[in-house]
């Protein structure tokens, strides 16, 4: 084993890469405390005015609520569709299943800007039929996000399914269980962590989606990333730094907790 431990050269390179990965996330912290109204490092005095701005300006709260609503709906749609699809592939092993999976993964491999253009076409077309789902509506954004995040949910659920032992399903079948029983009482309980992960990742992807959102919203459906984008393009608003710090801290704490739990679970037996 010792022969394959990382040597000093690769450790130095990897440390540099790790610093490179974390650097921009750390750099936003001092910027968020600057007393100035433009992007700058604080010199001398610190200020919480940009955090105060997040509370004072109702646009931030509204966009957070909107993003939550869109994230929950689109993640629910994506997870439900992906779970059904995964079950279908796993239980029936249809001919051409590789082709079907490839088809479902299309929005993942097609360049985001092409997907954005495609969904822009969809939304403007829908808008000419109704005012509920279409360009610049929250239901339209949720629909577009569901299209974009479903491939990720499918990948996660298929990965979970491939780890299920087929023999338990065969046993259930041999004992006379019908399709619904097999699906709901045998297979789904075995992939529930996969489904939960898929739902969580779908939510996060929708929560931070900007490429497509930019094309299909203008003034009404302003999600959090859309609002951040508006403050980033020309004059950079340091309130972006404050919201970024909050998002980074939440993510880092959740991940550190998860990695710690994982490691404890896997290293305990030793």
């Amino acid at each position: 084993m010792s022969s394959s431990r990382p040597g000093p050269v690769i450790l130095i390179v990897a440390t540099a890469v790790a610093l490179f990965l974390l650097m921009p996330l750390i750099a936003v912290i001092p910027v968020s405390f600057t007393p100035a109204r433009f992007l700058s490092m604080p010199s001398g005095t610190l200020s919480l005015r940009h955090y105060q701005a997040l509370i004072d300006n109702p646009a931030w709260g509204q966009s957070i609520l909107l993003s939550l609503r869109i994230g929950i709906l689109s993640s629910a749609i994506a997870t439900a569709l992906a779970t059904m699809f995964g079950l279908g592939i796993w239980m029936f092993q249809p001919r051409f299943s590789a082709l079907l999976i490839g088809f479902v993964l299309l929005p993942l491999v097609v360049p985001p800007v092409v997907s954005a253009m495609t969904l822009y076409f969809l939304m403007t077309t829908l808008s000419s039929f109704n005012s509920w789902i279409g360009y610049d509506t929250w239901l339209g954004v949720a629909l577009a996000h569901a299209v974009m995040i479903t491939p990720f949910a499918v990948v996660l659920i298929l990965v979970a399914l491939y780890q299920v032992d087929r023999r338990i399903d065969l046993a259930a079948r041999g004992l006379g269980a019908n399709l619904a029983t097999r699906a709901f009482r045998i297979i789904i309980p075995n992939i529930k962590f996969g489904i939960a992960t898929a739902a969580l990742l779908s939510f996060v992807l929708s929560w931070e989606e900007i490429g497509v959102t930019l094309f299909i919203t203008s003034v009404n459906a302003i999600t959090l990333p859309r609002l951040m984008w508006m403050g980033l393009r020309d004059n950079i608003d340091p309130a972006i730094a404050a919201i970024s710090v909050l998002l980074i801290v939440i993510t880092a704490v959740i991940l550190a907790f998860r990695i710690f739990i994982d490691r404890r679970r896997t290293t305990d037996p030793l």
Binding site: L21, L81, L105, A116, L255, A256, I259
Partner: protein
């Protein structure tokens, strides 16, 4: 009778997603294809413009150049950190995983903004260098091609780490032990045994990174500051600033064809499960 009900249930499970994507993705894409032939007038005019317009050409060339540089930079950096993630001590593995996953889960906007905070004229690097008296004028690190390359490399490293790490994990330990037993040095084992065994992962990672980089939009738009426009931003500008939907649509079609050809060529290296890890 039984066969029939199995078929109908199979369809019941598979059809919703296929229908959903067919109606909400494939059909509208065909609409975009139609735009490319009909806007502003019916014909191949937009494709002719693509071939001849020097602005479009220069954007395509810049995009390819940036994508190649970024892919190379990502593969080297991702390889180093993936190695520590897979083969390091338990603490090293935990730290590496943290450094890979935190940026991965954080939005592309926050990360682009973080790079602005690092690289812009009043950012961290320029402020430090100036207060240390090393430079008098701020260095132009952002709002140009350098900024775009740094930001994109940062964004794409995690996507390359997953396939590379998965290739590293599947290496048979005994092969390395055999090389060691025959007296190869650590450096030699690394370069002549370990690295060649991960070529599959490297090619897969390179492909994923290149394809993602090609359609990249947000990071170049923010860190390039409008000065180093890439293909994706050109599509955006053509649709929302100088309304020319036909050209935007034509570029989209060409991008899809290009990536489709690339993926078809490299099909055997791609495993969907590796995309997420």
């Amino acid at each position: 009778m039984i066969g029939k009900s199995i078929t109908s249930r199979k369809i019941l499970l598979l059809a919703p997603l296929l229908l959903f994507l067919g109606l909400a993705y494939v059909v509208p894409f065909l609409g975009v294809v139609r735009w490319s032939f009909t806007m502003p007038e019916v014909g191949l005019g937009q494709y002719r413009a693509l071939m001849t317009d020097p602005l479009v050409q220069s954007v395509f060339i810049r995009t390819l150049r940036i994508c190649l540089i970024v892919t190379a930079a990502v593969l080297v950096t991702a390889y180093a950190i993936a190695y520590v993630w897979v083969r390091g001590s338990s603490v090293q593995r935990m730290l590496a995983e943290f450094c890979i996953l935190v940026p991965f889960w954080i939005s592309v906007l926050t990360r682009a903004f973080g790079w602005l905070a690092m690289l812009s004229n009043r950012g961290l690097i320029n402020t430090w260098l100036q207060s240390a008296g090393i430079i008098s004028e701020p260095l132009a690190l952002a709002r140009n091609e350098l900024g775009v390359i740094i930001g994109m490399t940062h964004f794409l490293i995690p996507f390359a780490v997953f396939p590379i790490a998965s290739a590293m994990r599947s290496i048979d330990e005994r092969v390395l032990l055999a090389a060691r037993g025959m007296g190869a040095s650590r450096t030699r084992i690394f370069w002549t045994v370990f690295v060649p065994l991960t070529y599959g992962g490297l090619i897969g990672a390179g492909l994923i990174v290149f394809v993602f980089a090609l359609g990249f939009f947000v990071t170049p738009a923010i860190l390039g500051g409008g000065r180093s426009v890439m293909v994706a931003e050109l599509v955006y500008l053509r649709i929302f600033q100088s309304p020319d939907w036909g050209l935007g649509a034509a570029i989209s079609v060409v991008l899809v064809l290009f990536i489709g050809a690339l993926l078809a060529l490299m099909r055997r290296f791609i495993k969907p499960a590796h995309l997420i890890g």
